[in-house]
Assembly symmetry: D2
């Protein structure tokens, strides 16, 4: 072995660790590094920790670096430890070591790193949340459009009771809106600035942590300085929330697979979503539902990979919560977003085949429970009697291979008379009406039920719930944009001073 | 095979599925089943769906069952499908099938099941949350007591900078308080009544879902009726939140392991927590930290087991989200609670060995950065010069095997003069002071820093944050107790009517 | 707080840690502890490390303890640390501290603990493996019985091609046999004795590790003594293997759910496996498939919980790999076994509904690809021409709502003539035959195909593969039983010596 | 929305699904697709299914495509579904649709896909296994070099007993060798060809599956044709095995962190592996151990992500087991490999600081148990007496702040006399020797112990165990290379026929 192990870094270390980290920095963190540098210099100048002239010199050097460097084309060459030092080296070349050194006053790579990770993750989380809102929006539009479209709801994989497609979708909308809340709590915890924690205990310099938070667009300061560096729960919580969302996306994808299946056929994907076999023209593979399941599921697993990285790591500044982990996590977010986008688009164009649904309702006797309930009211029977009549009728019709809408009124009367000893009060038309899906749905008008009045109220709730989530997001994005403008302005002011 | 497969249940099905489910019901759900039965009868009577006399008969029969049955001694005998039918059979025996049947009007085993799971889980979650509050309380008390006790904070497993033990604990307190918020959001989503969803679409009977929610102590109604049965996110979210908490407990346990280690010895467990070897009297195994790590970690994994059970299950009523899963989850909660209790007690009795900590600070030159910063101010040096002097001094002392508090002032002057060309402005006393941990901490008075003023403010924030979380919990528990009283009173009123 | 923290144990430690551990010992480890004690004493006597008289005294005391103690009724009272010390205390009372102390010569609680964990886990693994073999046996019997029964195989959730039910089952049998191999590799690694590792470095006493392994029924000695205590991969590997098995069980359960679904109905559960609704007599809930999915899935998650407990724990003797973890793992094994038993029984009694399957084959045009292939041979067409004719015919029939077995021969001739410009060589009967499932299957006679010759060969392979796995298991069980007999005999010999 | 949903693909589907899949194909699967195409054409020609002239035409067209296409620069343009169709389109352009179509005779995208995934994964697995062998090799070399270097082994995070560094490493070597076996079982199951399964039931054409396996370098044919497409256990098993390995790497990293910690300092990283702070010259951050922990842990989580993607997916051909999942899995393998490479290099250059280790042995009284054992032999004491003397001596020395090698002989004699009532038989030199680490180690000569004779035997076992694993791997790689040569030759022969 000819390697000189008195020199840092060992070639294997450079190859397996430092080079990948450098590439991650180039790809994901160069822009925010620059932004943090500028904000820090502004704050140092404002608090008088560095003189305005020093601040100006540094800011101009940062500008020059920015103009002259094609970051994306940088390659790791082992001459410095990481991207931070690469920028510092450049600065030293431009303004000398004394001035360049002052940029790092009252901070450390630790607080910078976590500020950087949070800024990037926060933006990604905001995009993901917007994607979730769009999916909910698409589902809500579909639910509104199909709020009276008859559907057949299942339990344990088997047909159970009629409802409307809008009511069915509303169940999932409610779930997604709760996920929106969960993501937003995670966002709130992430939205705190670690800058000023320095290595771990803040600094003796009179820095202004609140001002740094403002210039970087954070909602405020992350309080305990050791926690700024050591805590990983803020990041883990985002992936835990995304995982929960993805698990539900995978469940809904499983439903969509069933509704679009050959045998069920309640939903029909348009041609644009169907992969067709050249030889089997009848074969329609709506593999889109498989892809939705897969994307959700893979994202869910990748979320776990992030959270589980933290198990049993000591609660202190650790590499395990830094670049390699963060960039691996972005893939989970990307997949989650692909899934949401696919869901939003697919649900918008899917068509409901009410003919097949009505046939399935008839075949599965899904409204039969309502006949029993109806007889209690119409014919003043006990529940037991009513249920027995309904049950006899069902058995009889199944034996005769008749679906519920083909049930014979005469046979019904016969059964009734045998059981009760008199003729039923209801006539043929009433029987038909009672076992119709429309009747079944119309009487279910309790809170959260499928009847028009209930579902309309629910959809209205969900719309305003969604709107309120969208408003929260919009405010956060506005604060972010506003901070960027403020920072630019502060830099410009400092540079103008010089010009003056 | 002699088994008659025309009879339900198949012996293997009874043994592998029905019997375990029955035992879970007996152990965990019998009490809430009864409560739901009573509340439902009260609501049915109040809404006039069943007559008061019927309601009375049923309530009296439930009372009689309760008096006469030793639930815990019940064993599954295959005669009924599950515990629900066991109770129904008893009721039929007591009041006849027509009356007994009316108890089930406008509901289903589906909404009952989920109401039951939520009530039990909610109570367990409240106990867990109380356990978390107690742990935070214990940590806060310790942090207050040790807020000026010198400690040595680490990065990357290596000594880094002095702080106080209170400041260190505060970092973890902040994390735990965020976990409190997460658990509480999960509680809020769980705290909705599914009763009235019936099978999945509500019912045609004019039931009062809001009243049921009130009688059962829920904060309100879970809206969409299909979602009441199909959604599993509310339950999954609890285990996701608990997992996050457990991951951090395992991390903190890893720290405690380090602080109590033979070589580090910053913390000392009292005799009551130390397993000792009979032959090696010097050996002190504070395995308590291992147990904390293990309990947290095993609980974390068991939380995942619950969430992952839902992956790719269809979004509809499924057994996968019912009894077997719920009861498996309770073990995670139990382990989490054991961990929290252990942490709260152990942290209260642990002793800080400031002598060893100060020695480690000296040996690790943990305050040396402050010397450089100090020289910039005292001697008007550039950062670079100051750092070079500090660095030379450190190297020199290490070579001479001197710790930082034994640093030679003469050597310092020598180094200073060589680098700067003049004598330093600071004297021996000032040098000592600058490199003392007390000075290091005192100047770190920014938001979230270890200096007295900062840490006092932080501890005050955490106390009020904890108090507010405790208030939320107390309100929820009060509502629960209040509902139990209301239900008892309503039952009594109904029964008194009869007496009158 | 009045607790005296100078006394071990702290009440909270006793409650949250020591008591649960004691209960786990009582329930799971008392018997093997005794067995290890006896084997160790025998080995100590055989090697002359303790005198025969001492060995006899100890063995008699162990016998006496065994006779006089109702282990199950023991409760933790805080007087000793754990079950090990409880037994030791008893021994001291019986034979005095000097003699009692000799039992522990050349061993430690460390090697004893791991020996105990391995013995219990090995037996459980053997039962699990037997359960897997039984499930494979049941599947093989069904596959043999239904090897010519027409089935419809799916891709992407949609009907694809005919096969036989036996061929379909064979696919899963092959998977399960691979799982058998995986479990058995895990068994092989587990089947090594850690006894003699003592605390971690073996001992200075001339113990005989190989003899201990033999007396305990291990296949041999676990070599490196530190690894005997520190390594956890042997245990983790068992849960990793079980998880893989469970994931496949959950996938197969998902298939079974589809085949027994209302719309598909290829398989029919007997009455003994169907939960029926009293009011909806048509409703058949074969929730057994849900339970199989759930049991498998929950077990899979619990397996992860065990493996993940080891993440980032130091590689040394740790509590994290001991009693609490082991006993938690048993639940995963139990659930896995319940799932296997359910599968074996359910698959044996399930009925195949060939009428519905044939209808689905016709409706889904699943044999149409064979028509194209057939025309290439019969009419010497190019693939392209043949495929275009098949495609035209399919489109046409679908438009006319005809299933494949109702396809009009006249229409076929018309299409053929239009495309090719002459009449087809095949006649009506040949067309029917070509598109029949029987033909489709019969020509697929390559290795692993569904044709009789191929499937018979496969089933024969699987039978002998299973038999070989069963033989391996039988040998391991025999060795275990044999060792128990050897130990008893050795003990008896030692005690007889005394009598003589 | 202006999108025409009568045309495939929907823009969102193209963007979120098809484009990523195409890019994955370009990057990972283009080469093996080509190889499968050629092998299939060779087999079709050999079996006479296509004529030699047709085969030649296709092979020439594939050559031309290969020469003229810069695969890496291809971008997805929505004109075809996937890369397979892209190649087919090109072929059609070159040789016409009738000839081009014949290439696909007797196969399907299904068996091609899985063949392609297996070939790529197998190669990656072989590289990973080689990486594991190299790591074991490096550890073995170190263990051999340091087989007599005194080390201090820990239990429960606390110093326990002396051993040698070689013996300690041997414990982990044994673990890694077992992982080698696990990976290799996974390799064996993966090493079967699915070609010929066609869509799922093989084909009516007289293809030769065994020949295809041979031409592709598989060890044989995957038997059941449905299983070739539906089974995912072969792939899952690889990630399960890798996860187990990674969990142990993370545990060993945790140990390395402890040995290189400031307070422990048993191991010293060379300068090439130490990140140093410019201001804190004493601070040595061997973050390499953190990176090893992180890489292992993240890889472990990503392995789970792959396995868990399969949970509850139906057991049939599914997208969930295809390109997106496979390519995500490669990241886990890459990270595992980086970890192994880092470990191998780092362990080779690490230095053992025996001075610090001996000091720690003395300070922790780690050899005191041997004194008790020694006194039993030398002075014919009972165990109890011997232990009490050792215990008294330890307590006394600790109180006097003496380490074990500074123990006072006079004090020993005093204690001995008080306890036993006479002078000890051992003299000062003997006492020193008995409590020396050398003696402690030398007497531990049982199987797997640290004594020279034991450790030498163990290392020899491990070397031959490793060599046997390396031989297995070499054979597999040779078969792979050999198959490539065979295929080239067969293609050349076919083309030469034409030339002739």
């Amino acid at each position: 072995m000819k390697t000189d192990h008195n020199c840092f870094p060992a070639p294997v270390y450079a190859k397996t660790v430092l080079e990948p980290l450098f590439e991650q920095s180039i790809r994901h963190f160069a822009k925010v590094t620059d932004r943090i540098n500028r904000a820090h210099v502004v704050m140092l100048a404002e608090t008088g920790i560095v003189e305005a002239s020093v601040a100006r010199a540094i800011l101009e050097a940062l500008d020059a670096y920015d103009r002259e460097t094609d970051t994306e084309s940088l390659r790791y060459d082992g001459s410095v430890e990481d991207y931070y030092f690469h920028v510092e080296q450049d600065l030293i070349k431009r303004v000398g070591v004394d001035l360049a050194g002052q940029m790092h006053t009252g901070r450390s790579r630790n607080d910078m790193g976590h500020a950087m990770f949070r800024l990037v993750l926060k933006t990604r989380l905001e995009h993901l949340t917007a994607g979730l809102h769009d999916a909910v929006g698409a589902l809500l539009a579909k639910a509104e459009a199909e709020k009276r479209t008859i559907f057949l709801a299942y339990t344990h994989g088997q047909p159970a009771q009629p409802t409307t497609f809008g009511h069915y979708l509303a169940a999932f909308i409610e779930v997604l809106l709760r996920h929106g809340e969960r993501l937003w709590l995670a966002h709130r915890h992430l939205d705190r600035s670690p800058m000023g924690a320095a290595a771990i205990t803040t600094t003796g310099f009179p820095i202004d942590r609140e001002r740094m938070a403002e210039l970087l667009g954070f909602a405020g300061v992350q309080e305990n300085s050791y926690g700024c560096i050591a805590a990983t729960d803020d990041v883990a919580a985002i992936y835990a929330a995304l995982k929960l969302l993805c698990v539900d996306l995978s469940r809904f994808a499983q439903d969509l697979g069933q509704w679009t299946a050959f045998e069920t056929g309640f939903l029909k994907a348009p041609r644009s979503y169907v992969q067709i076999s050249s030889i089997m023209p009848q074969k329609r593979n709506p593999v889109v539902t498989e892809h939705l399941r897969l994307l959700s599921n893979l994202a869910a697993g990748q979320c776990d990979a992030i959270v589980d990285t933290m198990r049993n790591t000591p609660f202190m500044d650790i590499n395990d919560s830094e670049s390699e982990t963060h960039t691996a996590g972005y893939q989970a977010i990307d997949r989650g977003q692909r899934g949401l986008r696919l869901l939003a688009d697919f649900i918008s164009v899917i068509e409901v085949d009410e003919v097949r649904i009505r046939a399935a309702i008839g075949d599965s006797f899904a409204t039969i429970t309502e006949l029993a309930d109806g007889l209690v009211l119409s014919d003043d029977l006990s529940f037991r009697e009513a249920h027995e009549i309904a049950s006899d009728l069902a058995k009889d019709s199944i034996a005769a291979r008749r679906s519920l809408d083909e049930v014979s009124f005469d046979r019904f009367v016969e059964i009734f008379e045998t059981r009760v000893g008199r003729s039923p009060a209801i006539d043929h038309g009433m029987l038909r009406r009672i076992v119709s899906p429309e009747h079944f749905i119309a009487v279910r008008d309790r809170t959260g039920g499928p009847a028009d009045v209930s579902l309309n109220a629910s959809l209205e709730h969900y719309r305003s719930y969604l709107q309120s989530q969208r408003n929260d997001l919009a405010r956060a994005v506005a604060r972010r944009d506003d901070a960027a403008a403020k920072l630019d302005q502060s830099v410009r002011l400092l540079l103008q001073d010089q010009a003056a």
